[in-house]
Symmetry: C2
Subunit: 288 residues, 2 copies
DNA sequence: TATAATAATGACCAATGAGTCATTTGTCAA
DNA sequence: TTGACAAATGACTCATTGGTCATTATTATA
């Protein structure tokens, strides 16, 4: 529908200048030269418009980057190409980038936050695949940490890139970041973020951790472990997660079994939180 | 005044959970157990409260970090200490950090945005001093670029650190980031952000560029240059900036003189923008 | 041209929340 | 006890803005 497109384009302009919250529907429709009612013929609500914008642009940006990562043959160039595509895409969609550079999550509704999280994870996956393609086994212990390094660099330089009004040399920027990334990828000895930490982080950001998610991580961990008390404990705990069957005291004991094993600390943390359910400290419960 | 403190503490809690915009004054006063009027006895407005919060915490955080940078004798350890202090400070003021992790500038008023910019610049200066202390002349060409690298890492890992609910090993994190920073500081061959770009960026973010600011940068540049047409042109332009005296055509000519000199491109850009005043494209002028 | 169907309008409604101020409550010196 | 002053209250105002819907304009069809 052409009307939707018009609204999206004009709204994007206004959002980029004033921010989303500071732009009333009335102003958007005035700027479009249509009535307020017409807006609600195209979108059910303001939120729906915002979501449409996010989807529209994120899909484009992400697929641009994904295509590059999947189709660059020369692995020497891949890092450079990745950054180049990324910044080119940001440049093409500068208004959108500008909005979501500053307007992070914050007081949006749940659906919006989930949308952003969804695309953030997609980005993580693409970056991970990039790293694995280029460095393979050499970064087994550092690859999850590397994701955050790359995202940090991207963010910092994107902000500069997007908010800067002067001319920018994308190729130089990409080359510079490729060099930095490569330096860190090939020389890091003490990574900070492990696979486990990343999982804990992802889970703890989910308001609701489903049985299935927890179980999936448990099964993965079970596979990694050799036969041992820890492995047995995990298997039992997994059964308990899927279908509550054990006495709480037994669960506590099983948790104790695993929480000192160096590779199980994260899982132990996730599980103890999960079983605690609402018994733990819940900061938001202080306010009706 | 004790009432102010109470309000600030309680407001911070609510802001951290719900966001600033989503927290009405009424809720703050309810939570404090005082009346709405009492709030306005302590603060002139909601914005004044927010500014008070920013000042209170930023001054603490910044001075913590600044103290470390100024007083760590062992330059080998300085990088580690810097990150350690930073994250420790974030940890101490976790609620504040949480708010300003997500709630960046956006639809705040000008005073707020300037506040944040002010502290951002202070941070830049501290980081620059840190870099200079440790690496001295070895990073002459890369130090401004390094600032953005460090800020990028700080940001990315801070977000992880602040939003993550699991236990975090600050020392490991600091060590990891110190290693990364060191790797980049000692091996970067192609920096992206030059001193000049940084200046352009800073200026272009100022809505109003004062004569004095422009002149200061000009004088600095003039000092760096050897005797040449470029230098003479800059001297004349500087006089013109301080007190309009030249014909526009002459100014244009002087600008042409410098804009091809590799070290003057940035200055040329700043100046041409400055002289253009409101004649340029001003995106916000489209809307009444 | 008449009629039905669809699109578009903008006055209106309801909710929100920042900030005000007439009134009440509390304190303390005379 | 009284009266003067300060502190605190919360009902109220007022501007804003998301969303609705009866009405009007436009187009397609017979």
């Amino acid at each position: 529908m052409i009307k939707k497109q018009l609204i999206m384009e004009k709204a994007l302009e206004l959002f980029a200048i004033q921010g989303i919250e500071a732009t009333p529907i009335q102003q958007i429709t005035d700027y479009c030269g249509i009535s307020k009612g017409a807006f609600y013929l195209a979108f059910k609500s303001k939120d729906e418009l915002i979501i449409a914008l996010i989807d529209h642009f994120m899909i484009q940006i992400i697929s641009d980057i994904d295509y590059t990562v999947k189709n660059t043959q020369n692995k020497q160039e891949l890092l450079f190409s990745f950054f180049q595509t990324t910044f080119q895409s940001f440049h093409t969609h500068a208004n959108f980038a500008k909005i979501f550079m500053k307007e992070q999550s914050h007081s949006f509704n749940k659906e919006l936050i989930n949308k952003m999280r969804h695309y953030d994870r997609l980005m993580d996956e693409i970056i991970l695949s990039l790293i694995e393609q280029i460095y393979g086994d050499r970064v087994i212990d550092t690859k999850y940490d590397l994701i955050y390094t790359i995202k940090g660099l991207m963010n910092s330089y994107s902000a500069f890139f997007i908010l800067n009004k002067g001319p920018i040399d994308i190729d130089l920027l990409s080359q510079s970041l490729a060099e930095k990334t490569n330096l860190i990828a090939t020389n890091t000895t003490t990574p900070f973020i492990s696979k486990e930490m990343m999982e804990i982080f992802k889970l703890s950001n989910n308001d609701e951790n489903s049985k299935e998610q927890i179980s999936e991580i448990l099964l993965q961990k079970i596979e990694e472990l050799d036969e041992s008390t820890e492995k047995e404990s995990l298997i039992l705990l997994n059964q308990h997660v899927l279908e509550t069957s054990l006495h709480p005291a037994i669960v506590q004991g099983l948790l104790k079994n695993i929480q000192n094993h160096p590779h199980c600390k994260g899982i132990a943390y996730i599980l103890s939180n999960y079983f605690m359910q609402d018994g733990g400290i819940n900061v938001s419960s202080c306010f009706s």
